[in-house]
Amino acid sequence: MQMVTISDLTHTLNLWTRRLRLQRALLWALRGFVVGLVLSLALGSLGLYEARLLRNEFLLLILALSLLTPLLFGLTAYFWRIHPLTAARRFDLLFHLEERVSTALELTRHPDHVPPEILSLQLADAVTASKKVNPSRALPLGLSLREGLVALLFVGLIGLVWLQGETWFAAARQARAVQQAVEAQAAQIEELIQKIEANENLTEAQKQELTEPLKEAQQALQDNPSLESSVSVLTSTGEKLQALSDPQSQAMSEALQETGNQLSKQEGSPLQSVGQELAQGNAVNAANELANLNVSELSSSEQAQLADQLDALAQSLQSTDPQLASQLSQAAEALRNGDPAAAQQALSESAQSLAQTGQQIASSQVASQAASQMQQGAGQVIAAGGGQQQQASQSGQGNQPGQGQGPGQGSNQSSQTAGAGGSGSGSGSSTGTNPDGSEAGSDPIAQNNGPGDGGVSSYEQIFAPQLLGGEGGPQVNLPGSDQPGGDVIGQGPTSPGEPGTSTVPYNEVYAQYEQINNQAIESGDIPTQFMQIIKNYFDSLKP
């Protein structure tokens, strides 16, 4: 009889164990696939619910999880530690070996506990029995039907989301666009701050005054980058910056530039260099040139010419900067009177005033440009949020972001929703081509309407809606309108109310507005992501 050793048994055990590992790996890989699908569906659904996941990202998530988890599960299952004795016991049961293998293995580990004859007999018996085993029958390598069906179910669900989830993907695209737009605006604000701080024409106080609202806006965008908050922040920052700009500075600047052009053309005149600086719009440098002008070095004819030029300069600045004009006139007068010292003193004071004016102009221009950028930024954020309708309706209040060159602002959300008269200012180039543009006040005043005849400038609009919800909406005739059937919906003092207050208790009109709001939401005109905001707003107003 051939001597049987433990290695014969362990060799067979190793073969079986390898097969068991493979079987486990296959089983767990399929389970991992199911887990991957479930995870990807759950995460994907969450991402879609929060409008964060784009279609390609959704696909990437599914592919990554449904490939990685089976791999991870399969490898873990394959390399999971299997104790040889535990495996032997399992094989005894699987192959109906009646505990031959496990007993033999145990005996070989403790050979002192049993007579050698019994040990060798047991070992031989176990090896003989194990050779009759067909492991492929008891340990088949296949995929489980149950797990397969579950996997198919989840594949179907993911397919359903993929095919039917366009609304969610669109919302995610909009949310992503808003996020990018907000980030771009934050970067632009940072750039603006740096430009302001590098501007030599501005004093430190002016720089601080200009950068403070920008820094606040930057922080606010960082804290809450949502569409509503971002638009609100950009708009309010634009308003703050706009308030820092002087409406007359443009006219003043143009007047100085015009005068500078004329002076620069007079070859050899004492004020030619001052004129050149003014023509280039650099009033501060012009002031320095003026301060450096030494009257005593001029000949009498040159002094006379200088007096004339100063008079001309004073005349051109009379309407925009009377103080500077007066100082220039005093200098001219002193020259004519042959008092160079007084003339020099007056010129010095004029240079000082001119420098201050230049700084004011620079500050105002910067503030105006920054305000414009803020308004454009708000428009870009709204546009990124899929706000075509929103944008269009805003234009009905004279606020066409991104097109107007001047500041455009207005209470573009609440006043519009409530249908109440909102105020807006802007110089957008929209001509009311959108459906809502027929509302009163929607046409911008594209003509000279400001002081100084400077062209397009800000103005105040009066918003008086006649068609709520655009064309096709209910006809609402406000009290006092000249439309037939204009019902009086409120009784109160006939004197105009305080700005921003209503003369009609809102609890009387709330129901009507709520109904209109509901109709608007149900009509599908409101973008999905704004529905909740609008609902919350009306809920907060509920009397």
């Binding site: 016991r89 049961l93 009646e98 505990e99 031959r100 496990s102 007993t103 033999a104 145990e106 005996l107 506990h113 049993v114 007579p115 019994i118 007999l121 047991q122 018996d125």
Partner: protein
């Protein structure tokens, strides 16, 4: 000289073969009785009268070439009748008490209808069964090896029976139920017993062979997880155990004692050898579990009132307890 496994099997097969010459059918009963003998335990056979219980034991006695004695238990049987007694003898004018051994002094004792005797007499067997000795008049006498008690009893429902005390029951290695033979067996019984010739069993093994076979059986290894299964199974018969089955929780008053685990382990070793294996399997345990445990489970009043059998509880436990923890 130690016995080999092949020799063990040959002896065992020969004993069964000789017994089967007389006993028709009842293979499982014969096997269990033989397992019990080879494990060194005593057997209690229960069945209605006329099923061949006594015949089986007597045939085994013939086949094993052992000193055989039969005690017919009756209500008036006294302990001294089975243990022996001291009698006054007169030898050379000198009177002395001399011990006269009773029928218990044999290798194979048939305690027929043991539950017809009073508990006092039944208990007289306790020392002999557990210690292999008898104490009379402060004198202890060893019984010859091997010593087996093969008891038969009628079902307790029958009149004139005294249930065996729990301690007495626990000392029986197996309790084997003898059931009615089927039609073919019944015909065979009629043929064998109503003809001119009566079958007789020949000698198949000696007392020395039985001792050697017992020693070999004790050397059969049991894997640790099989032992663990035995322990869990026995503990699960206790109603307070966490692994107890619903039937055990509801109907069992006292579970199986550690003697039950010993009987399972030893009986399974012999069964393994009978099956040509050198190790104990779960199937060996399951095959002998009812015989080893049924008389060690004490049912409560609800169990007795509802007619629950201890075999039902054991069967449920064998299904409920996983072979691997």
């Amino acid at each position: 000289m130690a016995l080999s496994v092949d020799q063990f099997r040959k002896h065992a097969e020969k004993i069964e073969s000789e017994v089967s010459k007389v006993i028709v059918g009842q293979n499982e009963v014969v096997r269990h009785v033989l397992v019990s003998i080879l494990a060194g335990g005593h057997v209690l056979l229960e069945g209605v009268p006329g099923l061949g219980k006594t015949m089986l034991i007597r045939t085994l006695g013939e086949a094993l070439d052992l000193k055989f004695s039969r005690i017919q238990f009756t209500p008036d049987l006294m302990p001294a009748d089975i243990l022996g007694t001291e009698i006054l003898t007169d030898q050379d004018g000198r009177r002395d008490f001399r011990f006269r051994p009773g029928p218990l002094f044999a290798n194979l004792v048939l305690a027929d209808e043991i539950n017809r005797a009073t508990p006092k007499t039944q208990s007289a067997l306790l020392e002999a069964m557990q210690e292999g000795s008898v104490t009379v008049a402060q004198q202890t006498y060893r019984l010859d090896e091997p010593f087996f008690v093969m008891a038969t009893q009628n079902p307790l429902e029958m009149e004139g029976t005294y249930p065996l005390p729990e301690a007495q029951l626990d000392r029986f290695f197996f309790k084997v139920n003898v059931n009615m033979p089927n039609v073919a067996e019944m015909v065979e019984i009629m043929d064998r017993t109503t003809g001119k010739e009566t079958a007789a069993a020949g000698k198949a093994a000696s007392g020395a062979d039985i001792v050697k076979m017992r020693e070999l059986a004790r050397g059969v290894p049991i894997a640790s997880h099989v032992k663990d299964f035995v322990a869990r199974l026995v503990l699960a018969t206790h109603p307070d155990d966490s692994n107890a089955s619903p039937l055990a929780k509801k109907y069992v008053r006292y579970g199986v004692s550690p003697r039950g685990a010993q009987a399972l382990s030893l009986g399974a070793k012999v069964t393994a050898l009978f099956n040509g294996r050198f190790n104990v399997s779960f199937d060996d345990i399951k095959a002998i579990a009812p015989a080893a445990l049924r008389h060690r489970l004490l049912l409560n009043f609800d169990g007795l009132a509802d007619g629950v059998k201890t075999d039902d509880v054991i069967s449920e436990l064998l299904t409920a307890i996983p072979v691997q923890a």
